[in-house]
């Protein structure tokens, strides 16, 4: 298991993921400082918010691309079959990949947290919670991307599916707000699309509640949301992992 984790870390180095994402973070830093300084008031707060918001997106996109392309390459080059020929269980393979990708995302996230903490004007309690929720969000995203890459043969299909998952999960708040559960069958029939969307929302996590940049600026306001974030993570991550185990175990090589 350790060797798979080390292999993924070296893969990231070889594919220049760290370099690519760090460059994106630096460009985002420059833009955020520039745009923040142009604000009429609250310049440092604006810089912090731009930094935090853009880093969240950069890390998410970077990890989706890395996971999908790595797994796609692993299948194409028969690396998975080679690993399975060793004495390692299929669950072990999936778990090792998950741990490896998670460590890569940590290695990318920690410098971005440090940049925001140093440059931005932040409330430390809110910032700490924000950082934790980013890590949890990344774990959920990596798990789903791994699952999508295992199920879908094509890397690009997995990339699009993962982006769609991320976008829909972040839009989930507006879906549950705007759509009510139908009161009767006629109501459901008249609003069939809205009803389907409402029931589909069961399958997606509430990522719109994660990583609110307002926590960095104003501190923690709603304690309920913190509990929801925790329980969402505790329920959804194993759900994805078990699905990955199930799919990988029934795969024929």
């Amino acid at each position: 298991m350790n060797s798979i984790v080390k292999y993924i870390l070296k893969n990231a180095l070889r594919d220049k993921i760290y370099l690519g994402i760090f460059l994106a973070l630096i460009v985002s830093l420059g833009l955020s400082v520039f745009l923040g300084s142009a604000s009429l008031i609250e310049e440092q707060i604006t810089t912090s918010v731009y930094l935090a918001g853009s880093y969240r997106i950069i890390i998410a996109i970077g990890m989706i691309l890395f996971v999908c392309l790595s797994i796609g390459k692993a299948f194409e080059n028969k690396e998975i079959e080679f690993i399975l020929s060793k004495s390692i269980s299929r669950e072990g393979v999936v778990f090792s990949y998950l741990i490896g990708f998670f460590i890569v995302s940590l290695l990318i996230s920690i410098p971005s947290f440090l940049i925001i903490a140093i440059i931005g004007k932040i409330k430390y309690s809110g910032f700490f919670l924000w950082a934790i929720s980013i890590i949890l969000e990344n774990l959920i995203l990596i798990s789903f991307t791994l699952l999508a890459s295992l199920i879908l043969k094509n890397s690009f299909s997995a990339i699009f599916a993962s982006f769609a998952f991320y976008l829909i999960s972040r839009l989930m708040g507006i879906f549950v707000l705007a759509i009510d559960i139908p009161k009767n069958f006629i109501d459901a029939k008249n609003n069939i699309l809205a009803t389907l969307l409402k029931f589909l929302s069961v399958a997606f996590p509430r990522l719109d509640l994660y990583a609110q940049t307002s926590w960095i600026v104003y501190g923690i306001e709603k304690i309920n949301n913190i509990e929801i974030i925790f329980w969402q993570f505790v329920i959804y991550l194993p759900l994805l992992i078990f699905m990955s185990f199930h799919d990988f175990k029934k795969k024929q090589f």
Binding site: L40, T46, G53, Q212, V217
Partner: protein, 248 residues
């Protein structure tokens, strides 16, 4: 078929001529579309709250900062600036309300409204600014008294509507903020004075002095000196008009 024509139709040169003919068509199309420009709104109509919630993707603060920057810099177009009189202030008001829904704690939007957008050459547009600042401050007058003062100032100085300024000043006067200076309570008196209601102005200041002397309120010595001067000068004027101040 003529062998020469057959040779040219099947050689690579035909593609070059086809490319050239389509490029000429592209130049022709460019000429036709040259005057079709994108519609540019200084301040477009504000979206509804569901659209804004969707656009935020769960992160209201990030969207707030992006849209505020856009609101601050609207009119800064292609090496030029647009005069504020050309803005649609009713749309501006809608945008300010939408942005307040995203973040009601930031001072950015009231600052933009008070210090920048109130400088419009079209004076009557200030009624939207005043309306926004009044609604913003009314949520918590003790916390947002400064913006209510800004609304009062804009009504008095820019809009020159003393009645509206008085209404806002009386609302401001009821604040109990610890950091609000005494003049927030005196403002109705100054406006009454400008309206020619010296008697009422006298009464307001006298009531304040009475509250301070009875210990209900604390004032600095210079504030007391000013109020006593105000009373004395009004008292002299009222007595010269043979008017009894007790009848105010």
């Amino acid at each position: 078929m003529n062998p020469k024509i057959f040779y040219y139709l099947n050689s690579h040169r035909i593609y070059f001529w086809l490319f050239l003919s389509f490029f000429l068509m592209q130049i022709f199309l460019w000429k036709i579309t040259e005057n079709i420009h994108p519609k540019f709104d200084l301040i477009p109509p504000a979206p509804n709250k569901y659209m804004v919630s969707a656009l935020s993707f769960g992160d209201n603060e990030f969207l707030f900062r992006i849209l505020s920057a856009r609101l601050q810099n609207s009119g800064d177009v292609f090496a030029g600036f647009v005069a504020l009189k050309n803005y649609n202030y009713s749309y501006l008001y809608d945008w300010m309300k939408i942005l307040d829904n995203l973040n009601s704690q930031s001072r950015l939007i009231p600052s933009l409204a008070s210090y920048y957008y109130s400088q419009t050459q079209n004076i009557s547009d200030n009624k939207y600014i005043i309306k926004y600042l009044d609604e913003y401050a009314s949520k918590d007058i003790d916390k947002h008294w400064w913006w209510l003062f800004q609304a009062t100032y804009i009504a008095k100085i820019n809009l020159k509507d003393l009645k509206l300024a008085l209404q806002l000043a009386e609302k401001l006067a009821i604040n109990e903020a610890k950091d609000a200076p005494l003049w927030t309570k005196q403002l109705p008196a100054f406006i009454r004075e400008d309206m020619g209601e010296g008697c009422v102005a006298f009464k307001i200041i006298k009531n304040l002095i009475d509250e301070i002397e009875s210990g209900k309120r604390i004032a600095k010595p210079e504030e007391m000196n000013f109020m006593r001067y105000f009373i004395n000068s009004r008292l002299t004027n009222l007595k010269n008009q043979k008017f009894n101040p007790k009848e105010c």
